[in-house]
Symmetry: C2
Subunit: 774 residues, 2 copies
């Protein structure tokens, strides 16, 4: 087959009007070199392309010419002033690249032009080392004959040396590369130091064992052993050459090493395992037997049990004959599970022996099962030795992909179940999550008896607040959950709620951030205006609907079946609200209107999320407004609080008849007294007893709040009890009434500040909280 030689018109330089090379020409020059089109190179150079132009990673035309091995192009470039000392971003010169490609002609050409045959890149690689890495025998010989230092150790940058990178020699490179001939030449012709060590203390023997081709490894190790290489060095994980040979499952290699008198047969790796223990674990009967016969100790690990677990009775017997005893692992008394619900099973799972799946210890057995799922179930496990819940999927499962993708993108969302990591093995995907105690459904079911009617429900408020934050942040990351329901909300051992189960989640285009980006892109490039670009995304609306059902479910303490709620119409759902705050909140969720973006964080400032104490405080603070105190009906606030004629009747339209009579009398007595008092006689507004208006009710609440704890009012206090509860129960629609009239006005300053962020930030107002209104 021939080299393609189509004539792309772009590749023919057109004379530029001013005779100066354009930046484009420089790129064309490099492309021409890569494509080995020497004539084009010549043309571009002649019309002024920069012969020393360097592309992104520092590649110059000369570097490229050397890489493609074209002596003629190299010559041409040099004759046009190419700098042979230019360095790529990693510090490599054309000469070093010539070592890689192993082209002796190029090396000869460049050698007179370099300052030092041992010049190196930032990682310390010389041309000689590169020739060893790539097994370039001729280049190696040429460089050696021209003064290359054979036993040079790589000198790298400080950052790398601090973590013990660097220090390797050409011999190690050749050994790792499996280049038998190079190793032989280095050892026998060039006087390479067989026992040179890199900065980690590893010698060529350890490097040789990194190669995956066992035959090459054997040949190189033979050469190294013949030159008396030290066999008691350590590789990664403090593994000895003997251990590495066992891991390669090569009886020959193990045999070769065991023939060395100096070998320390019982050295252990960083996990405390000997070569024998590894051989037994890896079911390598012959290697294990050989090690035993060569005197390996049988005291490391429970060898007999491991062999029996693998049903190798022969090996088990052999090991016993060599002194191994069956061990019973003592339970780890110091360890205590964090989960109380799963504690016993976790203790058991921790004790038993299981093959690790990456960082995960798991046993698919009903004793360790947490729950059923539509796919592979949820099981207890240990991920990096931390107790976790493991959700299992089939490898190619779309559900599994959804779950992992969503969790990976939401690690920082503190209201989403903490994601530990995932593992794949045997066609299974294992998703490891923080272990929680119960689902919301189970939690509520367990507490069914405890529920007390007409009490403030802090649990509901906190669960839903977490949930709203979780969903809001999920939406910001571009994901929609799509399966919000009580089984997918978890309650942990500290009674905090988090959102879980993302296997039906999707990354949608409805994401507000993406829409915004899209918008910006479009504006930039196409001049389209942004006005009609943010449609109500269907997914967001569906999420809000599901949240509406969840609000109802939670405030009803799980006593309404969630599945049943799904079948109800909006009006039927709204009817099931136990109070006005819930009613209004779910109306916002079920009928969100057009602007769903940011809807959730806004709703976190809804009175539903105010504690009863905060609600009471708000009413008092509003009642303390000057115009309310002086009954200035022309004042803005009283105007705002005016009921519309079309409005439904409220519980407080005749409020003076609703409040305890003796309290009413006592509170009015203050004004009665004043009436008889000369000082106040001209100030009519301060003399009015309480009337049936909202303003007066707020004034009443403010005044009562200020004075109810005074000693003279103990009788009043005994009638009212806790005022925050009294007013909540007596006038259950008052807070919502005031909220609706005053939201989006200056008087919203009296509303409590509620954090609408999932994590506290350092620029909020007052204790990391910030105000927000829907």
């Amino acid at each position: 087959m021939e080299t393609e030689s189509h004539n792309n018109p772009q590749e023919r330089p057109t004379p530029s009007s001013n005779g100066r090379a354009s930046r484009e020409d420089n790129h064309l020059l490099i492309k021409a070199v890569k494509d080995e089109k020497i004539e084009l190179v010549q043309q571009l150079l002649e019309r002024g392309a920069d012969v020393n132009f360097q592309e992104e990673w520092g590649w110059s035309p000369l570097h490229n010419a050397v890489q493609v091995g074209r002596e003629d192009i190299v010559d041409l470039l040099l004759s046009h002033g190419a700098d042979p000392c230019l360095r790529k971003k990693n510090g490599a010169t054309p000469f070093i690249i010539a070592g890689i490609v192993g082209d002796v002609k190029l090396l000869k050409l460049l050698l007179p032009k370099v300052a030092d045959v041992n010049e190196c890149d930032v990682n310390g690689f010389t041309a000689f080392m590169e020739a060893a890495v790539y097994g370039q025998v001729e280049a190696l010989r040429f460089l050696y004959n021209n003064g290359a230092e054979v036993n040079l150790h790589r000198k790298t940058v400080e950052d790398q040396e601090r973590i013990k990178k660097g220090g390797a020699t050409a011999l190690m490179d050749a050994a790792e590369g499996g280049h038998v001939e190079v190793v032989e030449i280095l050892l026998h012709e060039m006087g390479a130091d067989v026992n040179a060590r890199d900065n980690r203390g590893r010698n060529a023997l350890v490097y040789a064992l990194l190669n995956s081709d066992v035959e090459k490894v054997k040949a190189i190790i033979r050469l190294l052993l013949d030159c008396k290489v030290d066999v008691n060095v350590r590789g990664e994980g403090r593994k000895t050459p003997l251990i590495l040979a066992v891991e390669k499952k090569s009886l020959d290699l193990v045999q070769m090493l065991l023939e060395q008198t100096a070998i320390e047969i019982n050295d252990t790796d960083s996990e405390g395992k000997t070569a024998l223990l590894l051989a037994v674990e890896l079911k390598l009967k012959k290697i294990a037997q050989l090690l035993c016969l060569k005197g390996a100790s049988t005291k490391c690990g429970d060898l007999v049990t491991i062999a029996k677990r693998n049903y190798d009775s022969d090996l088990a017997k052999f090991l016993r004959q060599h002194g191994a005893v069956e061990d019973v692992r003592p339970p780890d008394k110091a360890w205590k599970p964090q989960s109380s619900r799963w504690g016993e099973a976790l203790k058991h799972l921790r004790r038993i022996s299981r093959p690790m799946i990456g960082k995960l210890k798991i046993f698919i057995d009903k004793d360790y099962k947490i729950a059923d799922t539509s796919e592979g179930g949820i099981y207890l496990g240990f991920y990096e030795e931390q107790e976790v819940a493991v959700k299992r999927f089939s490898e190619g499962s779309t559900r599994g992909q959804n779950e992992v993708s969503c969790l990976q993108s939401n690690r920082a969302n503190s209201h989403v179940v903490t994601f530990y990591g995932s593992e794949r093995d045997g066609g299974c995907l294992y998703v490891c999550l923080a272990l929680c105690e119960h689902t919301l459904e189970k939690h509520l079911a367990d507490r069914r008896g405890e529920a007390v009617q007409n009490k403030e429900d802090e649990f509901a408020r906190n669960v839903l607040s977490s949930l709203f934050k979780a969903v809001e942040e999920l939406h910001l990351s571009g994901y929609t959950h799509q399966d919000l329901q009580p089984q997918n909300i978890l309650i942990d051992s500290k009674n905090a709620a988090c959102l879980a189960d993302f296997d039906e989640s999707i990354k949608g285009t409805g994401d507000p951030q993406e829409i915004k980006r899209d918008l910006e892109e479009r504006k930039k490039f196409q001049g389209i205006s942004s006005v009609c670009m943010a449609p109500t995304p269907l997914q967001t609306t569906a999420s809000l609907w599901a949240l509406g059902l969840l609000v109802l479910y939670v405030v009803n303490k799980g006593n309404i079946c969630f599945e049943m709620l799904k079948d109800l119409r909006t009006e039927e759902l709204v009817e099931r609200s136990p109070d006005k705050e819930t009613e209004d909140l779910i109306q916002h969720l079920l009928v969100p209107g057009d602007n769903v973006k940011g809807h959730l964080s806004g709703l976190l400032a809804h009175p539903f999320f105010w504690s009863w104490k905060s609600r009471y405080r708000t009413l008092r603070d509003v009642g303390n407004e000057s115009d309310i105190k002086v009954q200035n009906t022309d004042g803005k606030i009283l105007q705002l609080l005016q009921p519309e004629t079309s409005e439904l009747p409220t519980s407080f339209s005749q409020w003076t008849n609703e409040v305890d009579e003796s309290v009413m009398k006592k509170m009015n007595a203050f004004y009665e007294k004043r009436k008889q008092n000369k000082t106040y006689q001209n100030k009519t507004y301060q003399n009015k007893t309480y009337q049936n208006t909202v303003g007066d009710l707020l004034r009443f609440i403010r005044n009562l709040g200020e004075h109810i704890d005074e000693q003279k009012n103990t009788k009043m206090k005994s009638k009212i009890g806790e005022p925050s509860q009294y007013f909540q129960e007596k006038f259950p629609d008052l807070v919502m009434y005031v909220y609706k009239k005053l939201q989006n006005t200056e008087f919203a300053k009296h509303f409590p500040k509620i954090s609408t962020r999932t994590k506290p930030t350092c620029d909020g107002i007052g204790g990391g909280e910030q105000a927000g209104q829907p």
Copy 2:
């Protein structure tokens, strides 16, 4: 070497007095079987040990006797009534185990006693399959001759089938196990279906390629190909047999498969890679060339660039000759970085090609460097395609171990930097963390100009609140940070703070939870009382000290050098507090007293963390106490607020002279009027103008707060401004004075509720918050 035959006295049964077997005897029976001590077995059975006793995993004496392959013991047990149908926990009967050990004599003995030669365990394994798994040729033949079904597919439990586990046949087992002879017998003598598929659709060919011994794989694949096995099936990751052969780096295997006319040479795996692309990536020149010559498409992936990156110019040329073109990867326009500070570098890193280190993409280059460390530096990276900061350590480094261990144990701590995961490669440990914008030090330095004196510093309060929570929860998990300083506190793009850098952390015995557990254990087992068990741990005290310095550093907006603070004595530090709240807080930190447990969560309720508005609200609420309003000096609260004679002078001892004169006059006017009013003349206490007492100051603040926003007081309002600020500045020691006098009294109910949890829980008081006092 001979079998050990020491006579442990424990192994000799001593006659039990009542003749009944103890539970201990049952365990001894199983041990005797394992140890193959037939006489002891006989003795134990005779004195009544339960012949059908099952240990933890369901192993009975008979199961064990079969495992060790002792026909005589099996006989003995059967004659004593051993049930041959007993199942282990995984459902295996002694007969199935006989298939594993491959003992034909045992199979013969047990066969008449089993209901079905094809009986299987819970995973669907029959004795025949087990014989295939373990390569037991004779057992296989015996079972076949006695009616074992050759082509039975494994039937497993529903949970497993849902994720497509199960369905494999004996042929697949033998192929995976590398048992060439078994495969041959199954195919040629027993009529095994060569194209049977398991529940994932894999046939014996895919199973054969799972074995690591290439020679065995070749032999088995030869047999399978001769029997016309389907070569276009898929394994894990949708890999074809051809792709799996390339991954095995075996030219022979690839050749064998390419000889099949039906082969689909261009099929891709789940990542869209063809066999050719993988061969080029794996630097397998010969295999790549063979694939090309057999007609593989060169259109998948940027083959030329990959070959060039590996410096294989020959292969690059060869590929071009076969139609491969050099591709330039277009930048991913849709992707936008989350970090603004690191955005450009991230875009670049995302675009370039890098070998993956597990789930991590990283390039150790100064362009992607975030910071220096004492070990391997911090670099930008992508972990599971999410932008991260990667801290690098040398593999065996203690610092690295500390960092990972602490992060693994604190994944749920939302004030600790989010931990993504770690990878190990080439002697390096890579710790991947959420990417933040700045360290606290840098953040403060960047804002140096912006700092305004005498203003409420919400940033400081929020950073320190996060930090306290982080450290408190860290301590609860048993860890101590040991290097708390401004470089180790990070500020993210949302301006939230988190704690980082755990490479000096230790898991100490000073952990309160551990002490508590210890305590409980000791009480349970040794009857030791708990009184003197909780010493002040040195580490906790050191952490508190460091937090004290950090408080000073942050409230001084980083204008004091942290290193300098380290050298100061307690008094010198205390002097540097800009206000009384800070002074008291750091005194608690620097001189924590004996009880350091829970100290931090207590301190989160300290007035330092109250917003100025909350402080003002607290003063007003205290001032609204009945006894203060009526100036009842005998009342408990005024008694509590009384200054001690030894106390230092306060800013408010002559407060009536400090407050703006016109305001004072106006406020006093109320009482002057009353004096002239007959109604109040007998109520002396209500007629008093304000005196220089704390009680009167609080009454003043309460009254001013209630009325300052009234229209008649606009002039007063213009003098005072924002009252919360006015009183904070006028009487900077007032809040702390009131706090100290009233903490641990009933009046602490007026203090603000501050969340002391790191995550909101669902059982707190009022909006997920809960009260706490140091």
